[in-house]
Symmetry: C5
Subunit: 310 residues, 5 copies
């Protein structure tokens, strides 16, 4: 049941549990960089104790921490917006698949059982569209995950094409146009369903936009330079005051700063397999289940007709 | 009357009254953590007075307070946007239910009294959709709250299904399609009502999106780590200067910081039963009342016809 | 003329004039709280001069001012967004009333003069909808302001109903449906006008959403606690340094901080009668005037026909 | 040619050139206020050297600079959003005029040459709508700029009306309805064009909303008070340390702060004639040229028919 | 294959590699300004060692770094929003071209092979629209890049016109209207396709809006003045403390500040040829390839008919 699958709300997990969580945190990513900063600080401290005057008595720091802080938060903010936009797009995809499948199921007139079979084939194409989009976003080839939602020939054809989701959208559109020509739907209903199909293609295009356009390069480079500059000048400012404590404290501060920067990198491309990425597989599975539920309902024997004779 | 139920505006309550309010504040949630920080500070102070040199003469703090402040506010901001988006979605649901019910009531032609009965059954399905969405968001099973808005068989059927709101949407769509086949509405009106129904399903999907996608885990973990680091290094910086005052002052500062973090946790999932969550029960009740009002109005004997003979 | 009514742009008022403006400023609201802080500071100073060691030599302040500043600005920002969203909604209402009234006036076919009378009655219902919404948002009962836009019976009926704007929307929808049945408009035009009517009901619902959902309580309480904590700990930090100047300076600082918090409270509910609230009466009056202008234009004798014979 | 008119990108102008630019900068606006602050600081310095103890040894400043900074940036941000929304609205107006004129030109059937003349008259009404909106936003009366886009009688009529753009919208709508009655377009096309006309009226209403609703007064007043308080307390903090350098340095700091506040005032009402306002005249001229280009194209002899015989 | 062209995610590139990247960073742009600041600082240091008292013992800096930081980040933020809006618009253009081309290909009835040829000519006009928009945004004349998507006469005609994309939109609209007159599509389908065409013209207008409306001049000037003021007063504050280290440290700080300002300039106009601009050429190429793929699919022999006989 779907209700059982809702993620446990973070409200209900013990607060302190999160602190020690390794999986999903940025610690694995930043550990090498933090260590590098700590060793550098240790080196500076050694030089200091060997009597070389490396202390820099600058009170405010080379990179004003307010400026660095604002840049880091702006970076995280932007990355989060991309993550959230990606999630919204997949939410739109679920909704559109639900609406289009319900409309197809309820509206298109059936003359014989092959019409019903075609309908089911088309509903499966909707899921195939979502899965093909997922594979496209992950730069993966058409694979057997897609195969069970497609007729064999369709699958073979798809393996040879450059942009699978667009072909699937073409097939769905072509099916709807055929129903229109068979007068199973009228021109107005056709157009309304085409608009839902257009929305699905819009979602595909918008996800590709997020994937292919990272934060501008100039920004990424300058921020990395500032972060490194900030961390590497810390030992010179602290060594006079802190002595041998310099290295662990520089490690803690670079953990703070590098961690925030790493979060931005983690979440700005939300379509992969990381712990912090969107659960695309689960979303596709939800769509599949919703459509399987829909198929069990019988549109021609409606709810009210079942109900009123009794 | 609805007008009597408007929440008292915070403008009109005495300002100081809020200060001491326990219910709805984050104090119950953060008290254990604040106490832990205070006891830790007390321990550090004891060590200090036993002559162990624990004082850390670092002026700026390990975690720059600007960085922590920005992260906390960004966190709160994001959580508030989720809360507000959730509220907007339920506002859209109210509006759509109002618009769809008015359209059904005014437009669909009636031939005999059973048509009127079917209309009323369908208007109740709109409320059932809202209640089923609420239960779905709270991971609660179908219950008697839903029962009175559904025919008995519909209710029984629903108890066996995995995603109740979608089945209800199917029933509403199926009813509209039947009216179209009975020529009580034309194709164009059918499509316009389907669009309103699509909006209701969009709201459902968007609420599920908010529920199932918390703030990225990497962010949550890193922020908790920084908050703890900040609070636990405070005593070392203050003990030299403040002596026995260290513990109460560390308690006050951790109250500030942990409180902000707790607000974010409180409001990021707005569909529960907390004092800070959305009043979903009241919203469903408003919909119910609006539709009951609507049913008392008589669409076939219109306002103008009543009015002009006089 | 409307052009004469445009608010004088703040650009063109002398800059310094604003400084001393009492009306519309937050000073009346915060004066008691600022005085309380000043007297508290005076008390602390007295204790200090009586030789009691109340000075707290903490450099950075108990509540980091960066954190408090960010929270205050986030609060103001959120309140402003609510204010601006409220204004946008009323702007949408004006636009929709203009568009719907023009469409009704131009499109609906007239067979005899009673059709024209009905049209005018309906155009007045559009204004009645806006006024009823205004009254609803201010929790005021139906009153004579509404009376002159409604037929007498309609007014009497409305006095007995729980949600007047929704009834008026029902009457407008019912009128349009009648025109459709009289074939004065076709199904497509009916649906387009229903969509405009839906927009009006959406505005109503969204305004109610803003009114009934203040900033989350947890946030309001924590912010007030922090503001008070900040202001009340100031004297302890300053008394050693400033002596008898402590009280006036604490007064100035609390004026700054409490003033920002008070702005948020002022503008977060924009539908009342305060100097900082939206000019709802003027907006309703503008709608009324626009529709009276429209009625003077004669749609059947069109602009071009008047023009070309010459 | 339009391509030649694109503004030179700021990328390509020498960076230092901007520093000395007077026209378009806020310096003319803030010079008197900056001078006042400087003279006040000079007065304080004189008192100090006369031996009166005016120095205030407060380290952090009365108005915390973080709070003032955040408020100033929030103010500028809000003003910029209004500016940008205004620009977006005019962009929408250009687009809608382009789309509506192309649709009218291509779709409406012509039976004789007077139909073509009427089309051209209507296309000119679209430009007249934009110009009338511009005049309305600038509180200017109907003038000869509008005259050449209107038939003489239309112009005379307009001079007597209170809200010219709405009358022009009525004329356009009336023309479209006539074409529908002459069966030059069908009901569906009529409604689609009415929707574009509605968008134009929406733009008008939204621009009026921006114009008539400045930043809330409470906010404007409090910010001005804080800015003044900040600038006037600076000399007391600096005089002990800086001596006769106090006045120039206070001048520089007030230049910084007052300048940011002045930018907000400059751009929050973007419909005037200032160097920082939107180029409304140029936008209207672009529309005019686009429509003149359109008229030179011949819709009945289409592109493909010209092309294929060869 | 498209999948192979996805940009390598920044996640997967070595972190440190970015630090030394010259291409795409802002270093080339800011090097002269940074050098100027360093030489100025060197000059101040020389004066100081010649015994002239240039040291300014001001602790907090003339331009508060919090204010400057906030302004810089607001500037970068605004520029990024323009960049991202530009990208979104081109994403919308891709989606709309995909949807409109699929709709044309699937829906328009063909009577003979010349109809198919006309269809292909029109699909190429869609790409020509995108390319003409690109050229328009770059202020470049119509060139041979456009030629291969246009019939020869169309190309010649275009060379003489002032706003090429609008003429191409006219041709597409005219083609659709012809199909309507030939009854290859009905009025409803025509309007739906016109709406997609309107979206394409909206994208064009919105891109022109971004291009022609830079950040308000008053803002740009004031920010440059503050940045320069900040960098040029640094040596006076540091020389006493740092001696000959002043120049390199001032260089590093101005590198930080000027770099952030330069990022804003780089990305605020995203339609050029810089490394940080949008890949418009690649986007146009993607559209071309998608349409070539589409043409290989055969709409009259649909997917299902191929499939079911087996």
């Amino acid at each position: 049941m779907n209700r059982g699958k809702l993620l446990p709300n973070s409200n209900h997990r013990p607060w302190f549990r999160f602190i020690w969580q390794w999986q999903g945190s940025v610690i694995p990513a930043i550990l090498p960089r933090v260590s590098a900063c700590a060793f550098f600080a240790l080196g500076v401290t050694c030089l200091y104790y060997f009597g070389i005057n490396v202390a820099l008595p600058l009170k405010s720091g080379l990179v004003p921490s307010i400026v660095l802080g604002l840049l880091l938060v702006f970076r995280t903010n932007t990355a989060y917006e991309r993550y959230w936009e990606g999630r919204k797009l997949w939410g739109t995809l679920i909704n559109t698949v639900r609406n289009l499948s319900r409309t197809i199921w309820v509206i298109i007139k059936e003359n014989d059982s092959s019409d019903r079979t075609e309908k089911i084939t088309t509903l499966k194409l909707l899921i195939a569209f979502a899965i093909a989009t997922k594979l496209q976003l992950r730069s993966e080839p058409v694979n057997e995950e897609l195969e069970r939602f497609l007729p064999q020939e369709g699958y073979n054809k798809l393996c040879t094409m450059s942009h699978p989701p667009l072909e699937i959208a073409f097939w769905i559109g072509d099916y709807l146009q055929q129903q229109y020509e068979k007068q199973a739907i009228d021109s107005y209903q056709l157009t309304a369903m085409f608009k839902l199909l257009d929305t699905m293609v819009d979602v595909l295009g918008a996800c590709e936009r997020i994937l292919k356009n990272p934060i501008p390069l100039a920004y990424t480079i300058h921020l990395k330079q500032l972060v490194l500059l900030y961390c590497l000048t810390l030992p010179f400012q602290f060594v006079d005051e802190l002595g041998w404590m310099t290295a662990p404290i520089v490690a803690l501060i670079s953990f703070t700063i590098l961690g925030i920067e790493a979060i931005g990198i983690e979440i700005e491309d939300p379509f992969g397999y990381d712990a912090n990425d969107l659960p695309l597989d689960q979303i596709c599975y939800t769509m599949d289940r919703n459509i399987e539920d829909l198929i069990t309902l019988d549109p021609s024997v409606s709810y009210f007709q079942e109900n009123q004779p009794q």
